[in-house]
């Protein structure tokens, strides 16, 4: 940001004007740490990956000649004698959205410099993420035991299993990496590695985590609800 440039809060400018000022500044285009910008750009690239996965899934769903299984029925569970469609997926979604909340709390406490609370909330987020992956493992096991395979399934179109394992697998991989990432950063926060350089890393981790949650919303809507 150019030296002497009025800050946004003290001297509100029309949005267009400040945008032009940012882009024509020397030194930095965005007033954010390098790591944060890099994470944003990475997430943009990752958005394309997931979009293409989902586009591919929708395309084969159209191209296949067999009937598409009804996801509400496939992902239904019998709990205490009651037939509940999509109940596990609903719980998983709830858990993941909740973890976004705890992550936001962790970022908040990070910027307050409250090391203890930051670590607690990061670990809570990681725990919720791990619970999500655990439920996903349960879901995979159930489907596999019912005969669903990537190359075919008894309920209908083979592409149902292929898309399911590929997309949820890729997303689950993202969540698992996120859990590890959270755990590592939480340990480093607890050790006091960021006392001097600031807690931006918590927010960067948070960006990744919120992204993974957001992607799940799209998978939920386009794969499970459709």
């Amino acid at each position: 940001m150019a030296i002497g440039k009025p800050s946004h809060s003290s001297n509100p400018q029309p949005a267009m004007h400040s945008l032009v000022a940012d882009w024509s500044a020397d030194k930095q285009t965005f007033d954010v740490p390098w790591g944060k910008l890099m994470m944003w750009i990475f997430l943009l690239s990752d958005t394309f990956i997931f979009s293409i996965f989902l586009t591919g899934y929708m395309n084969v769903r159209m191209s296949t000649t067999d009937t598409w299984p009804n996801p509400s029925e496939v992902f239904a569970l019998e709990i205490a004698g009651t037939h509940l469609p999509l109940i596990l997926i609903a719980i998983m979604t709830f858990v993941l959205i909740t973890s976004s909340g705890t992550m936001a709390m962790a970022v908040n406490f990070g910027y307050q410099g409250n090391k203890k609370r930051t670590v607690q909330f990061m670990l809570a987020t990681a725990l919720l993420g791990a619970a999500f992956v655990g439920m996903q493992a349960f879901e995979w096991t159930k489907l596999i035991s019912e005969g669903v395979r990537p190359w075919g399934n008894p309920m209908g179109a083979a592409q149902f299993g292929s898309s399911f394992f590929m997309i949820t697998g890729f997303h689950g991989l993202h969540v698992s990496i996120g859990v590890l990432y959270l755990a590592i950063v939480a340990i480093k926060v607890a050790r006091g590695d960021y006392e001097r350089s600031g807690y931006q890393i918590v927010e960067i981790t948070g960006l990744y985590w919120h992204f993974v949650d957001l992607v799940w919303v799209f998978i939920f809507a386009l794969f499970y609800l459709w």
Partner: protein, 595 residues
Amino acid sequence: MPHVAIADQTSELHDPRSFITKYIWSQDHKVIAIQYALTAIGVGLIALVLSAMMRLQLGFPDTFDFITPNAYLQFVTMHGMIMVVYLLTALLLGGFGNYLIPLMIGARDMVFPYLNMLSYWTYLLSVLILLASFFVPGGPTGAGWTLYPPQAILPGTPGVDAGIVLMLVSLAVFIIAFTMGGLNYVTTVLQARTHGMTLMRMPLSLWGIFTATVLGLLAFPALLVSAIMMALDKLIGTSFFMPAIVSLGEQLDYTGGSPILFQHLFWFFGHPEVYIVALPAFGMVSDVLAVHARKNIFGYRMMVWAIVIIGFLSFIVWAHHMYVSGMNPVFGYFFATTTLIIAVPTAIKVYNWVLTLWRGNIHLTVPMLFAIGFIFTFTHGGLTGLFLGNVVVDLPLSDTYFVVAHFHMVMGVSPIMVLFAAIYHWFPLVTGKRLHDGLGKLHFWITFLGTYAIYLPMHYLGFLGVPRRYFALGSTDFIPESAQTLNASITVSAIVVGLAQLIFIFNLIWTLRKAKPCSPNPWGAASLEWQTPNVPPRHGNWGQKLPTVYRWAYDYSVPGITSDFIPQNISEDAVIRDAETSGDVDDHSDKGSHT
């Protein structure tokens, strides 16, 4: 500045001492750039030899026993894939991008040097995986560089066992490597510029590299996903791209997949890939032309916007590669329109290059010769692109040698002309020595005239209807026998051009070993990379203090100034003016200092 890191550091970086940390596990962007460049050129030479093999078969069929039909298809595939991805993308972005970005913006290094180092080693891994496919049973895949399913993974195509899997894995690894590098390049350009270096003062090389990197970050995901899906189809029998199919008399288990989906995904990557290669070339050639014509680039802002607009448009033209694929013809109408629209900013660039030369003080140095050669080859390749962009003209020309000639002119020869221009131009910066002029000119004339001897007749073969990717034509009614004579002549030219590259390699080695050091800025270039305290720049690039930039990169032949160029880091007060004309220079002197 709250975010001080290596690129912003105020003190000089200490040089690594041991050979290993200096040249092998180096985090210095310049060393990484050279590692990238040498690997890319090495693997590119393999691809060059493969193309010579193909030409030998086409020019003199039934002569060479070791070129079997299977081997021919494998040569075609590996030649294409290596040239497009592992040579051009890696050399332009990994090589020149790495070298030029921190120097041109006045930074000490990339923002994340460690990631940058990982990027190179991951790239090397992808190259090794690719080359390993030459040594597995069945050899590399022969599916063509587009890897279209179903044939890419069905028996009958060479390399269907291990070759195709290694190819897909190698591409995935390459994409990971590119992403690590690309994130670095984009973040560095956006965030680590030195004082005074606004985006609109950056040399066009940087605009080209920057935009191409953004394209790569958004286009390679499509290739990654299609590689994953095809690997699943091949390895565990999913049916993403595979319809119900009978292969060698046997009904396979595949059902209900969409081969067209692969083509869409592949070309959603493949078309931006053309511009990932072309945009850095556009940028670098602009700088070479301006320096050697001693004139500012014509229409700098227009050039920047043309690069950005081309980058945007390149994402909505992909299906012009698929007019004959059986997609809905209505799409053809849309994609033909966008394809013709993209010719507008491209034509603006060509006009601006020519107008830069117009009344310039042209020095016909070797880099300049290659740069002017590029304008010719690119114009020719671009014009045939307009033919192929129209559906009705494309239909008869599809899958003929006309297409081969077109894309070799536009994205084979043209970027390579720029690469040579760039190597001859920046070699004194990298090594402190100038490549031999006479050898360079010989290299240029053989390469330039030779490419015309190769590709002009190929257009004609295409009009005759000679199909591409055929091992041998045999006797075909509609192709006259004289086509074979033409093919033989093309082969001879290709071998000559291929051998001429030995002159270049000899020149590199001879210069490195025998030539005397030249002056630090032999071309009199104004852009920042030539203004380092040491040439070649040392680790950390800028000594104790980062430079401050006062002007754009194109202040050549400014009236009233003693020197015929003003480096970017010279302030208005420090400019030495001619004594007698100092009164009226104010009109011109602030030309470059606009934001």
